[in-house]
Point group: C2
Chain length 449, copies 2
């Protein structure tokens, strides 16, 4: 049994839904379909979810949401018309939506959650109607009915463990289950949405619940690429990578999806298969616990900007038990999480995401560090990029570090920082932001060409 | 005005003292001489300090210390005889020493401190007598009289700031001041010794006090070498290095002296000059705040063994504010200080000196880390060597990392860990102990041949 998730662009139009139909017909094991809300049809289009947010906000502000309501319904209606579906489904969607807007607004948060979630929910109804109209037996299943129970954290819902047992019952359906992504229900029965990539999360939870043989994630790219295609044109595709590799790549800027969304699948050991709705015959990228190590030590190169470093030095720092711990306590007080902490003998560098400092008085922070730790120097350097060279094969491959460092040197890129732990699935280089692209290109050429 | 410190081997025999005399005659600026106790004359010899410890312990145990007393006095007497000095000085040393052994033993610690310190103290008297006999005006000055006041921490005395002003008065002496190293006096008037390299510390304190133009540290090697001579035969000498470079090299195994001993000189910005008593015409090694960067990016390569790593992993560790801080708190509870902490996205490696774990139940420590932090993995790896490639010039030298990593790769050495902070005076590689020598040789060849 396979759980198949389709992203917004895969469901943006009737033409796209025909592809979805074909994909489901091609493999009878595809028994559970998790759907996003309709995405953009083109660059200038607006996502249904964004329309819904404007709509809900207008209602809460006591304004007339007529225009947004019309736009939302038009998106579904366009698709239904394109597919020659009976207008009943659109009538039902419209009625449900107007009822929702007319409903209880005492808790503005809960109201907005339900309005946002309606994008996926109504799309699931539409997709189920479409599949049925084309002769596939398919049924819309509501997350509450299926038992997807989550914590009451709007926009950041966490699945509750008891959900998995309940979701297992989805195996019993004879029809194809069409399941809306992005949200679950709290114990008190309110709609609560997941964080970004919410439909990916739903897919992983459902895959775990039904113990799927694979969780297929259909999107609009042929595969996960070895490097950002905006930096290197037509980069190689990754055929297989491990959860850990995906996690490292995702951390440092790979946006195919958030590795966190995979956790429920990872915990159940269910492989994830990234495929292209628009090109379903290409092999895509498989993510699993292990992979055969036959394509060199490096599987991908990621980079992310927007980091800064706090450099702290003190002669004989190294002799003081608790020095680093005290620095980290100060950062914690400011709510700052750090990424890495390379150290010399008497100095320490803390790498963190720069945006965390926006509302912090940097001078005050540095003064506190200097004063409380009696440090000689405490300096912030802004605008660093982190480049991550990722691959399970690196650990026992003498020379990978050498090749990477040599490629950077030959490209004239100075390495501000290297961080390589003892379990190196990755090797991290810190460089100044203006050198990041050059560095990524040089590393790509070294390891993939 | 120069402060000159002579180590034990420079003062082990009459022949050595003649060299000291010549060195002082060669430069009239050498006005303050700090002396160690007589060291070994040959491999099988015993240091005076070690004889003194046996002697003191026997006295405290109520045993007859006659044999040790005879040996101690014989060392001084041998030197005096070799130099044709009047026997008066030996008579005085013997009398002082017997009085000391006969004195107050209520506080065993204080008694042992005074016995140990007598090695330097009596040697200072002997050297002053010798210089005077050879026509140089020289005078023994007692640290209490000179105002060298320290904390009451036996074997780990810390100089009190008021000492510096008092020591400044040593400038007023017309004669050459001969000053015993290794100890000061507490406020209550007890002898308290410094830690290892104690005479180096005295020299640095006195140099600071008198605002010396240079602190000359005479020992038995021509210079600080670029690498351990037991690993690479006849390595290049370092002509000049910075305090920070010396500190990094000393941290990782360079034993010329402890960088900590230099702190008082470092704080006053006084250059330190390492020279060879047995070969005073060679230039030696200068240590100062800055150096001209004309001999390549790397100044030296040090290595030290006896480290281990604790590897901790947890999926999404990176998202938890305070994770590292909590690990460090646990280590602090065990009194463990760590050296470095390289990290991946969801893992962390803590490098520490292995001997700290001798009295610790490693299984218990790992279990606590796993339990309290809900970590997935916590593993200790033993027997690591750290190799430090040191040089102020590395920071802005594109390619140094690349050269180092390439040299290691070509020698077939796998790098377990790299740690390079943003102020890289050094670059640190962790390798398994059995590969350490091979690694050091490869790096030496890359940077010095």
């Amino acid at each position: 049994m396979k759980v198949v998730k389709f992203g917004g662009s895969s469901l943006a139009s009737g033409q796209q839904l025909e592809k979805v139909l074909q994909i489901l017909k091609d493999d009878k094991e595809r028994r559970v379909v998790v759907v996003s809300a309709p995405g953009k049809r083109n660059e200038r289009d607006t996502k249904v979810t964004d329309l819904l947010i404007s709509c809900g906000e207008k209602v809460l502000a006591g304004k007339d949401p007529g225009e947004e309501v019309a736009q939302v319904i038009a998106r579904y209606a366009d698709i239904a018309r394109e597919l020659d579906l009976s207008s009943d489904i659109i009538t039902q969607i419209k009625q449900d939506f107007l009822e929702l807007l007319d409903g209880n607004k005492e808790n503005a948060h809960s109201f907005m959650e339900a309005v946002k979630a309606s994008g996926e929910d109504n799309n699931a109804k539409l997709v189920a109607a479409f599949l049925t109209a084309r002769g596939l037996k398919a049924v819309y299943v509501n997350p509450q009915e299926a038992g997807l129970i989550v914590t009451d954290e709007p926009g950041n819902a966490q699945v509750l463990p008891e959900s998995y047992d309940r979701l297992q019952l989805l195996r019993e359906y004879e029809d194809i289950v069409v399941f809306p992504g992005f949200f679950g229900y709290s114990k008190s029965g309110d709609v609560v949405t997941f964080s970004r990539s919410g439909s990916d999360i739903t897919g992983a939870i459902v895959a775990n619940g039904v113990k799927a043989s694979v969780y297929e994630n259909f999107t609009d790219v042929d595969a996960v690429y070895t490097v950002n295609p905006t930096i290197v044109s037509k980069p190689k595709e990754i055929s297989m990578l491990t959860y850990r590799e995906m996690r490292e790549l995702s951390y440092a800027g790979f946006s195919v999806f958030h590795a966190e969304a995979l956790i429920p699948a990872y915990r159940a050991g269910i492989p994830v298969h990234v495929k292209n709705t628009n090109n379903p015959l290409v092999p895509g990228t498989k993510i699993a616990a292990q992979r055969s190590n036959d394509n060199g030590p490096v599987v991908g190169i990621a980079n992310d900007k927007g980091f800064c470093s706090i450099y702290i030095s003190k002669y004989l720092m190294n002799k003081e038990i608790g020095f680093a711990r005290r620095i980290l306590s100060i950062l914690e007080e400011y709510g700052i999480s750090y990424e890495h902490m390379p150290s010399g003998i008497d100095d320490l560098t803390i790498i963190l995401r720069q945006d965390q400092l926006i509302h912090i008085d940097e001078g005050e922070l540095l003064a506190r560090i200097k004063e409380e730790l009696n440090a000689e120097e405490a300096v912030i350097e802004h605008d660093l990029s982190l480049i991550m060279v990722v691959g399970e094969g690196m650990r026992h491959n003498v020379g990978t570090t050498s090749r990477a460092a040599k490629a950077l040197a030959e490209a004239g890129v100075n390495i501000e920082m290297i961080n390589q732990g003892s379990s190196e699935v990755s090797m991290m280089f810190g460089v100044k932001e203006q050198f990041a692209k050059k560095a990524v290109k040089a590393l790509y050429e070294e390891f993939f060409q």
